[in-house]
């Protein structure tokens, strides 16, 4: 099988559309993961009864089962319980919830990294709980974990390819479909790989730079 540039060029627009879906799905899912992960981390840090245990089990469960299984389960089982969502929305939710279990642990590490004296200073100033979290603890906690969260974001971007199994029309799905109907996999899959690289590599460089800047300003 030799590389056919003409064919490659002809399928590029479709693949780029697929990449755009991939990027949108990742952006939406990382937003879920960042918000939900923070909620889980704070609830577990505060040891809020019941909720804390529920989230603890949630993290254990999510981290202990494959993303692929979670995606299948959500796609094939939820509709039986009357929850009918599009493949894309299902994919975004699965990816977001899956990663929230990991970001929660990252947040927790960041929160625990904040010096005890910061909490004591907040108490000594009579700062109530909310400003203590939003103004004192979280800004410091997040600063130290931005690179880690960034790496999860890149990893999620690549993992989003798994959503092809539940028919989300992201870039790998498009590539596979083209390959299947044209009986040529070389060009579509090569381009899919290159497109992933074209996004993830600059993102990694960006995060490394951000990491350096944060290290200096600290």
């Amino acid at each position: 099988m030799t590389w056919n540039s003409e064919f490659a060029l002809s399928i590029l627009p479709d693949l780029l559309r697929g990449l755009w879906i991939t990027i949108q799905a990742t952006m939406a899912a990382i937003t879920i993961a960042l918000v939900l992960g923070l909620v889980v981390a704070v609830v577990r840090y505060l040891r809020i009864p019941v909720l804390s245990q529920v989230f603890g089990f949630f993290v254990l469960f999510i981290r202990g089962t494959p993303l692929l299984v979670q995606a299948y389960a959500a796609f094939f089982i939820l509709p039986h319980y009357g929850i009918v969502l599009s493949a894309l929305v299902t994919g975004i939710i699965v990816l977001g919830i899956n990663y929230s279990a990991y970001t929660a642990e990252v947040y927790r590490a960041g929160i625990e990294d904040v010096a005890k004296g910061q909490w004591e200073a907040a108490t000594a100033l009579s700062l109530p709980g909310r400003p203590t979290w939003t103004r004192i603890v979280l800004p410091q906690a997040v600063r130290s974990i931005v690179p880690m969260l960034g790496n999860y974001w890149i990893q999620m971007f690549k993992d989003s390819a798994i959503l092809s199994v539940i028919t989300v029309a992201e870039v790998l799905y498009v590539g596979q479909t083209i390959g299947g109907s044209e009986f040529r996999f070389l060009e579509p899959l090569t381009i899919v790989g290159l497109l992933f690289l074209a996004v993830s590599y600059p993102a990694a460089v960006l995060i490394r730079r951000l990491e350096r800047r944060l290290a200096i300003s600290r």
């Binding site: 010096a115 004591e120 108490t123 000594a124 100033l125 009579s126 410091q140």
Partner: protein
């Protein structure tokens, strides 16, 4: 202003406060001295609600801050505790400034969040206080850019911004390079002479304690072994342990 009645506190086998009875009058400046691990800092931390006593009653300005029996709080009035706590300010050995906020933001934070002040008002008050402690030129510097002595003076300004009736100083010069101690002590001396705040200092600066205190309390093994006017304690202590302690710290 402050009263400890039969206050007990243990850390595992370490009995740091033994049925402590300790009272401070309004506007009184009291220095607490003694060997490390003698429970001095615990007194301040209980007042700041950073530590809870196991037994006893602690009141501040007539209101109960703690009322506990066998570690259980009797009559849980947490709102009362919060309101009483606002009358108290504390300066820590390690400064504990918020490193991501500038000097002036450090001072403005509590007046805005707790007293509901406007940004302008809080800025005004913070600037005034930072001027007083000699940091008028460093309003926008973040703590890591300041020396230890400067950080500690910001911390004093930050505590003062809440206009506390009681100020607690917990070995505030212990973490400083010797040449920076003087500036911080000058600020505290000013506060001691120019305000009617009640001040409680845990300190190893014996000469400073002698100079500014109305009363010095010698702590050892969880009890106040001796207390009195600074001249009496430093020149002519009655207690053998006080004498030995002072001899050890003043000799070097």
């Amino acid at each position: 202003m402050i009263s400890f009645d039969d206050v007990d506190k243990s850390w595992g086998p370490n009995h740091v406060l033994k049925k402590l009875n300790f009272h401070v009058k309004p506007a009184e400046k009291v220095s607490i001295i003694g060997p490390s691990g003698s429970g001095k800092t615990t007194i301040l931390r209980i007042l700041m609600t950073l530590e809870n006593p196991d037994e006893g009653i602690v009141t501040v300005d007539g209101d109960e801050l703690w009322n506990v029996e066998r570690g259980r709080r009797i009559r849980r009035e947490t709102t009362q505790m919060k309101l009483t706590r606002r009358k108290i300010g504390m300066v820590f050995q390690q400064f504990n400034l918020f490193p991501h906020l500038s000097a002036i933001q450090n001072v403005m934070e509590a007046p805005i969040q707790v007293l509901g002040m406007s940004k302008n008002e809080a800025h005004e008050r913070a600037k005034g206080l930072l001027d007083t402690v000699g940091l008028g030129e460093h309003l926008d510097h973040k703590p890591p850019k300041l020396s230890g002595g400067q950080q500690q003076r910001v911390a004093i300004a930050r505590a003062m911004a809440m206009r506390p009736k009681v100020m607690l100083f917990d070995e505030v010069t212990s973490a400083l390079d010797p040449e920076l101690v003087g500036d911080v002590l000058d600020v505290i001396r000013d506060l001691a002479t120019s305000t009617d705040m009640t001040m409680l200092l845990v300190t190893h600066e014996m000469r400073f304690a002698e100079e500014i205190s109305d009363r010095v309390v010698m702590f050892d093994g969880g009890v106040a072994v001796e207390q009195g006017p600074p001249q009496k304690i430093f020149q002519d202590p009655d207690n053998e342990r006080t004498r030995r302690f002072l001899k050890a710290v003043l000799e070097h």
